[in-house]
């Protein structure tokens, strides 16, 4: 197998990567050998995977487009009738996209040159200019790998010894069901207020309530409320 050449740059997106591959293979943007480019593109994604880098979905979408075009080329060409003429050829569509993107990439370069020209022409009112631009977090100028390094450093700083404590549920519905079963052996009714008073926490009230609902469903208990927001009475279901 050929050695995989890894360029340690980040690509802005799938189109950026494609343009790089086209340039590397010294191809004309209007005359791309899709099968070569597609293979290299996928090789690149695999390398990224090996480096445990997350691959953005856009890259995957482009991979499938490339495979689609490649597979299409293996099939015999269908005769295109006049009516089908507006059915866009995916290869042409891709080239069109690449050209359009490349234009703006070039414009961005021109912008960068303009920026270079202006960066040394300072305003008198520096409060609006220099301080803002120099301290702005958006004006970063370091590579992806530097970023990765900082990220790792940050992660290493995290105290590994600090574990998250998982708190055991103090109350279970099952336990409360058993409680009610026992309770109603000797008594015939109770109220929600009483239950709330008996509880030590909000969680316990909730679990009590869930147990009541479950018992009502099983027709062990019955509940009644005389008016809205009134107290809830809980009875033993004697019809059972």
């Amino acid at each position: 197998m050929d050695k995989i050449e890894v360029r340690l740059d980040v690509f802005e997106g799938p189109l950026d990567l494609l343009l790089y591959l086209i340039k590397k293979n010294k191809m004309d943007i209007y005359d791309i050998k899709i099968s070569i480019i597609a293979d290299q593109y996928i090789k690149y994604l695999n390398t990224m995977k090996k480096l445990n880098m997350e691959i953005a979905t856009e890259f995957m979408v482009m991979a499938s487009t490339l495979m689609f075009i490649k597979s299409r080329m293996l099939l015999p060409v269908e005769k295109v009738s006049e009516d089908d003429i507006d059915v866009e050829n995916p290869e042409d569509a891709l080239v069109e996209k690449l050209v359009k993107y490349k234009i703006y990439k070039e414009v961005a370069k021109k912008f960068s040159e303009l920026e270079d020209d202006m960066v040394d022409a300072h305003k008198r009112d520096t409060s609006k200019d220099v301080s803002k631009y120099t301290q702005n977090e958006y004006f970063f100028d370091f590579s992806f790998y530097e970023m990765l390094k900082y990220y790792k450093k940050l992660m290493d700083k995290q105290d590994d010894a600090k574990f998250h404590q998982v708190i055991k549920d103090d109350f279970t519905v099952e336990e409360k069901i058993n409680y009610f079963k026992k309770f109603f052996k000797s008594k015939n009714s109770t109220t929600m207020t009483e239950i709330i008073n008996r509880s030590n926490s909000k969680m316990e009230v909730i679990v009590y309530f869930l147990a009541i609902l479950e018992l009502v469903r099983l027709k062990v208990l019955k509940v009644k409320q005389s008016k809205t927001f009134g107290d809830i009475w809980i009875y033993k279901n004697t019809n059972q």
């Binding site: 856009e58 703006y104 021109k110 960068s112 520096t126 120099t134 958006y138 970063f140 100028d141």
Partner: protein, 178 residues
């Protein structure tokens, strides 16, 4: 009064103006028969030539339709020391790219930007808004009424442009690619 006599007035106005001052505004302030926008532009040009000939430490730039004094970029290295700038902070590649798409297609929606870039651009667009390089200029009359973005005068100032018509010609760039 002779136009020459207005030279220091124009100079003073540009010098003290907190933001680029438009030639029309200068003409309005002077408020004299026969002194219009055009005459002001002539005066400024004379000033510009004068500064250049004398190799002054400042220049007059035409930015976003108005005039502004800027330090002569030739002496940037000294100003860097004044402002303790260790490194030039430049816009990142993705920011420039997105800005280029907005500049040439405005008003433009996020979706339209993403159609060109093939990459999610929400974050970059928000960055550009924070930097005041672009702003929301309206909503498109299409399903979902998406926001439309356009460039600001700050954008022109930052790149040293007088107006959007000073942007590099797309057709020329296209030819270079072919």
């Amino acid at each position: 009064m002779d136009l020459q006599e207005y030279k220091p007035v124009v100079e003073a106005l540009i010098f003290a103006s907190p933001s680029p001052i438009k030639p029309q505004k200068i003409a309005d302030i002077i408020d004299e028969e026969g002194v219009g926008e055009k005459k002001i532009m002539e005066v400024v040009e004379e000033l510009q030539n004068k500064y250049e000939k004398e190799d002054r430490g400042f220049q007059i730039y035409k930015l976003a339709g108005g005039y502004e004094f800027r330090s002569n970029p030739e002496y940037g290295e000294y100003l860097k020391k004044l402002f303790s700038i260790k490194k030039d902070y430049k816009l990142s590649k993705s920011v420039l790219e997105t800005l280029a798409i907005v500049a040439y297609n405005q008003p433009v929606t996020r979706m339209e930007v993403e159609m060109v870039r093939n990459v999610d651009s929400t974050y970059v667009l928000n960055k550009l808004i924070d930097l005041e390089m672009i702003k929301v200029v309206g909503q498109k009359d299409s399903p979902g009424r998406p926001l439309l973005y356009g460039t600001t005068s700050k954008f022109l100032e930052y790149f040293g442009l007088d107006s959007l018509s000073d942007l590099p010609e797309l057709s020329e760039i296209e030819e270079d690619i072919g």
